[in-house]
């Protein structure tokens, strides 16, 4: 969290003001960092863990995939809200059906669908299997989002081109600071959320044990009925 605050300080103080767009351009550091976390680590971890789960059937892989998808949705939401606020001053509209924006919105809906699917199915091996298949299919949109500004006509800026970063030196340094801070924040959130899902599974097992003991205790302490007393 301290590094995220340093990144905030860097974006507001160290980075120079962009001549044409003004202060709103400073949102770029958080917009791109959150897009990187969602498309890079978060949804790719869902994809990798989904494949690994189908091969190895380890519950821990399903838990990491679920945690990563949830965090990915949070960071995609940040991307989809900071983008339009920046666009309003530059493009004079909050939203346009540009290929990059449209594919990102589709991505957000796909992973919200993933979380809804998980919440609707009962916990267990079947849910993990269905979610893993969905997690693999949903990831297909990630390269589409990344390549959309190269394959189709778009007004979305292209920061990384074949000739390198199209940014001034200090801006590049602050961008990398924000990318590093958000990546570490993602790892912290993943560790916390995956740990909670493990505790949830342990709690499920404990609850089953308590229910069994409860039924045994009732059976042991219940007085015998007339039919059970031998004549």
């Amino acid at each position: 969290m301290a590094l995220v605050l340093v990144a905030l300080y860097g974006s507001l103080v160290w980075a120079p003001t962009e001549r044409v767009m003004g202060d709103v351009q400073r949102l770029f550091y958080f917009h791109m960092a959150s897009a990187w976390v969602a498309l890079g680590p978060a949804f790719t971890v869902v994809f990798a863990c989904s494949i690994a789960y189908l091969v190895k059937r380890r519950p821990a892989l399903d838990r990491v995939a679920a945690a990563s998808a949830e965090i990915g949705v949070v960071f995609t939401t940040i991307t989809l809200t900071t983008g339009p606020l920046w666009a309003r001053t530059v493009w004079l509209t909050y939203w346009t059906w540009d290929p990059r924006l449209t594919t990102t919105l589709i991505l957000w809906f796909m992973y919200v669908g993933y979380l809804l699917l998980r919440s609707m199915l009962p916990a267990g091996e079947r849910r993990a299997r269905i979610a893993a298949v969905y997690g693999i299919v949903a990831w297909v949109d990630v390269p589409l989002v990344f390549m959309s500004i190269r394959w189709w006509r778009t007004i979305h800026p292209q920061v990384i081109t074949g000739s390198g970063m199209q940014l001034e030196g200090t801006m590049t340094a602050v961008l990398f600071l924000a990318l590093g801070a958000f990546t570490l924040l993602y790892l912290l959130l993943l560790w916390l959320r995956a740990g909670q899902l493990r505790i949830g599974d342990d709690l499920h097992a404990l609850t089953m044990r308590a229910e069994w003991l409860h039924s045994r205790a009732i059976a042991t302490t219940r007085p015998a009925t007339d039919e059970e007393v031998p004549s």
Partner: protein, 76 residues
């Protein structure tokens, strides 16, 4: 709205979403730990009750649960 105001709103959105999610995780953690402690206390009480009512009990509850397909994680 001016460029600076859009920046302010954007940063507020970023911090509300990250801070809100982090707070939600901390709240969930506390809730889960309290629930685990509550169930563990209930299990101890039930085990004491069963030991008191049948001191010759020889079966292992966890082994019996697993034999009935009710033990372990929800993954089976």
């Amino acid at each position: 709205m001016t460029s600076s105001e859009f920046l302010f709103v954007g940063l507020a959105v970023v911090w509300v979403l990250i801070g809100g999610y982090l707070l939600l995780l901390v709240h969930r953690q506390a809730h889960l730990q309290a629930k685990v402690e509550e169930v563990e206390a209930e299990i101890s009480a039930l085990e004491r009750l069963m030991d008191a009512s049948s001191p010759m009990r020889s079966t292992d509850p966890q082994a019996e649960l697993e034999a009935n397909g009710q033990g372990g994680s929800p993954y089976g």
